[in-house]
């Protein structure tokens, strides 16, 4: 989701023009010839590419970060292939960066320092569904939605459902500890990954966690999930199967005041109801969505809440009635309950098409991701509007209100002089405001390079040192996806590894 097609094309052409001028992206970098030859010998010519097009595609993710720089790109087909690539990279003193579908929004999959890139998308087999243990073993390249579709006939599903679920892979979800609307009740990726086979930076293969209730030793599986490709490469994942709820009720609650909507969120949680999802869209987003997808949201609402409750049918009735009552007590303009699956799908279509709808507003957007205490949504939204107004930008808010996970979309036109700078300045202020409210830097998109240099705003030097110990326990030489997450003062070896491989690279 990198803005509009036009914007994406412009970026491609822009970069190519720059590339031609400097001549820095030859189709086959002679300096890499020996490395490429060894990779080809290890996993076969059809699984290695070193041409400019392949490297360009592997140099970016869906974030606006454009400084990624891929070395040779490998497309392993097995765990052995992955280990072989890591061995070759080690021999050549090169780092390794894994990537899934590249839908990440924080630059986590943007390779730094011309590492060997491992594109995991060809390892896309659903290996085994183990009903007795309530898990499915999948390869990392399996697409999130494909997994849920494959499980559908069995009455179970894979719970984390990021907005990019039609494209993003399970391996990428593991790397980012991805969330999604339904994580409010069901938990993020970490709660749904039981065991992971990984290739470590020394090319050894180890399984973290197992299918037992409480695996022996430290929770290495838990430490690995969300490590953004910096601890190793997942080659097989055991994901938990979640039973489909017997009943689901989807409701659209509309408000003439944003603060009433926010108060409704807090009141629902305080009433002991944990809906499967509580999503909020503000007026500008509602209008954009209606122009784009005609989901039937009222254009005059200052905010709408999409609330879904699920469970056994009797309890769902009760919970839905209580949610409606709470909304009405908080001056809801209207409360609409989807009568059938079609209407339910239409209500969700509005939410799910929000990012596409932005294209009708402005050619570019920057999607933020912070978390705030869910009881402070009103203050937080007011602050966001104030910050964005001050920087003369447009903001659309569509987010996981139930767990306080904000996603302000700053819409802009990058052709306007100074627009990029204003977007970044506003983004920084939103991050700082969220932290000042007692929040977190990122709720589901990850740190990557985007928020790396904000980490010290949330964590002390001691905290960051502890985190770097976690990373170094897996990867003592910092050869896995270096340069991400930890600010440079806490990842000295990363800088060493990047400099060794690419003197004129990102740090140059």
């Amino acid at each position: 989701m990198a803005g509009t097609l036009a914007a994406a094309t412009r970026r491609v052409l822009g970069s190519r023009r720059r590339g031609d001028r400097s001549g820095s992206v030859p189709s086959n970098d002679p300096a890499d010839a020996a490395l490429v030859a060894d990779l080809v010998e290890a996993i076969g010519a059809d699984r290695v590419r070193a041409d400019a097009a392949a490297r360009y595609l592997a140099s970016r993710d869906a974030s606006i970060y454009r400084e990624g720089n891929a070395g040779p790109v490998c497309y392993p087909g097995s765990t052995d292939d992955v280990a072989a690539c890591v061995r070759v990279a080690n021999r050549h003193g090169r780092a390794v960066s894994p990537r899934g579908a590249g839908t990440g929004l924080a630059g986590g999959a943007a390779p730094l320092g011309r590492p060997v890139v491992l594109s995991m998308t060809r390892m896309d087999e659903l290996v085994e569904i183990d009903f007795d243990n309530g898990v499915a073993w999948v390869q990392p390249g399996v697409v999130n939605l494909d997994l849920t579709r494959a499980l559908a006939p069995h009455g179970v599903h894979y719970a984390p459902d990021p907005s990019s679920q039609a494209a993003c892979t399970i391996g990428g979800n593991v790397a980012n500890n991805s969330g999604g609307p339904h994580c409010l009740a069901y938990g993020v990726t970490s709660a749904h990954v039981v065991a992971i086979e990984v290739v470590l930076s020394d090319a050894s293969v180890v399984t973290l966690g197992d299918l037992s209730a409480e695996p022996a030793g430290y929770d290495l599986r838990g430490a690995f999930v969300g490590s953004e490709g910096m601890c190793g490469i997942a080659t097989k994942v055991a994901v938990r199967l979640t039973r489909n709820p017997p009943a689901v009720r989807t409701m659209l609650l509309c408000f003439s005041d944003v603060s009433d909507a926010a108060a409704t969120v807090s009141a629902i949680i305080a009433a002991g109801i944990v809906p499967a999802a509580i999503e909020m869209l503000d007026q500008r987003c509602v209008i954009a969505v209606e122009d784009f997808a005609q989901a039937g949201y009222p254009r005059d609402a200052a905010a709408v809440l999409l609330v879904e409750v699920d469970g056994a049918s009797g309890g769902v009735e009760i919970a839905a009635a209580r949610v409606a009552e709470i909304a009405e007590r908080n001056q809801a303009m209207s409360v609409r309950t989807a009568a059938d699956d079609d209407e339910r799908a239409r209500l969700w279509k509005g939410r799910k098409s929000a990012f596409g709808a932005v294209a009708n507003v402005m050619p570019d957007y920057y999607l933020h991701d912070t978390v705030v205490p869910r009881t402070r949504l009103v203050e937080v939204l007011e602050s966001i509007y104030e910050i964005v107004d001050r920087h003369d930008l447009i903001v659309l808010n569509v987010f996981h209100a139930g767990d306080g996970n904000l996603h302000p979309i700053l819409a802009y036109d990058s052709r306007e002089p100074g627009a990029d700078e204003r977007v970044h300045a506003a983004g920084r202020e939103i991050i700082e405001m969220s932290l000042d409210m007692g929040g977190a830097l990122t709720g589901e998109h990850g740190v990557g390079v985007e928020k790396r240099d904000h980490m010290h705003r949330m964590f002390s030097a001691v905290d960051l040192d502890q985190q770097s110990r976690l990373r170094a326990s897996f990867d003592p030489y910092c050869r896995m996806n270096p340069g991400k997450v930890l600010p440079s003062a806490h990842s000295c070896s990363d800088i060493g590894s990047l400099r060794a491989s690419d003197a004129a690279g990102v740090w140059g």
Binding site: L220, A223, A312, G439, T442, F474
Partner: protein
């Protein structure tokens, strides 16, 4: 950034100090799990007390030395609880460091999902914070996950922010003589399904109407006060192994298996589990990185947990 550590935490860190072998004692309910504290180890206690309960956030900030039962009494006022098991005198810190789930894990989730933020003393005596004060967070590496079940060998937890969950409108234990555990497991409100090779016990938790519906699905059953008496040793098996436990490990009545979870309470201790060499090596590396001098809870090792 400077964290706002309160006086209790600062005093705890001072007591732990920067050197010398040290262990934390909670309620002592799992005191020998993963080995015994090495002789000569100084014993300290974590501070106690509930700091802040936020029902509308579904979180509670609590000091590690607080008994879980006491915490749950306070949370009950807001209709909530945590996933931590209540043992006789067992503390919040102890429950987190043992990492053993409650018998109602099907309903409450595993202990590791409960920890949102930890303030703990590192091996060098400094205070650190892991995680965030929000219910959702992926900012950086997940040190919280690593601490749960670590037996205090990586850091000594002083204060935590826990996720709370609503207490069901109705909670009822029932016993089904000679029943098939699968039927109970298929009940939507089942927060615990236990099987001793002959009979099934189920804890149904949720809305009254849903519990009633599940009861009618289960057929004839006897309402009971709670779970059966659990044999002393706790095995960690896969759900499939737990369901087949009777066939492999002896007679009915000598064990109680948690169906759908994999924990089995048995008369005999679990034989040592095989850990693949690569995983064992990683465990050693974590300990060496986080506690280079080996001063935190020496003698205890999560790999040796049954």
């Amino acid at each position: 950034m400077t964290a706002d550590f309160d006086e209790a935490l600062i005093a705890f860190a001072a007591e732990v100090g920067p050197d010398g072998p040290v262990c934390v004692r909670g309620g002592g309910t799992r005191w020998r799990l993963g080995g015994e504290a090495a002789p000569g180890t100084r014993q300290v206690q974590a501070p106690a007390g509930v700091v802040a309960f936020e029902p509308a956030e579904m979180t509670v900030r609590v000091r590690a030395g607080t008994p879980v039962a006491e915490l749950h009494r306070e949370l009950a006022a807001g209709g909530q609880r945590t996933a931590l098991p209540e043992r006789d005198g067992g503390t919040v810190g102890g429950a987190l460091m043992a990492g053993e789930s409650s018998i109602a894990r099907l309903g409450l989730g595993p202990v590791r999902e409960a920890l949102l933020q930890a303030r703990y003393v590192c091996a060098d005596g400094q205070l650190a914070t892991a995680g965030a004060a929000t219910v959702k967070n992926v900012s950086g590496f997940d040190v919280c996950r690593l601490l749960v079940g670590s037996l205090g060998t990586l850091g000594l937890v002083g204060e935590v922010l826990l996720r709370t969950v609503p207490v069901g409108e109705t909670e009822r234990w029932v016993r089904l003589a000679g029943a098939d555990a699968g039927t109970a497991r298929s009940c939507h409100t089942a927060a615990s399904v236990l099987w001793d090779g002959a009979d099934v016990w189920a804890l149904l938790s949720g809305y009254e109407v849903d519990v009633e519906e599940d009861l009618s699905r289960l057929g004839p059953c006897e309402e009971v006060d709670g779970p059966p008496e659990l044999p002393p040793h706790r095995w960690s098996c896969t759900p499939a192994e737990a369901a087949a436990f009777a066939a492999r490990n002896g007679a009915a009545g000598r064990f109680v298996a948690e169906i759908g979870v994999g924990i089995v309470h048995a008369a005999e201790p679990q034989p040592p589990r095989t850990v693949e060499p690569g995983a064992a090596e990683l465990n050693r590396r974590f300990k060496a990185r986080f506690d280079p001098a080996g001063r935190l809870n020496p003698g205890r090792d999560p790999l040796q947990k049954p």
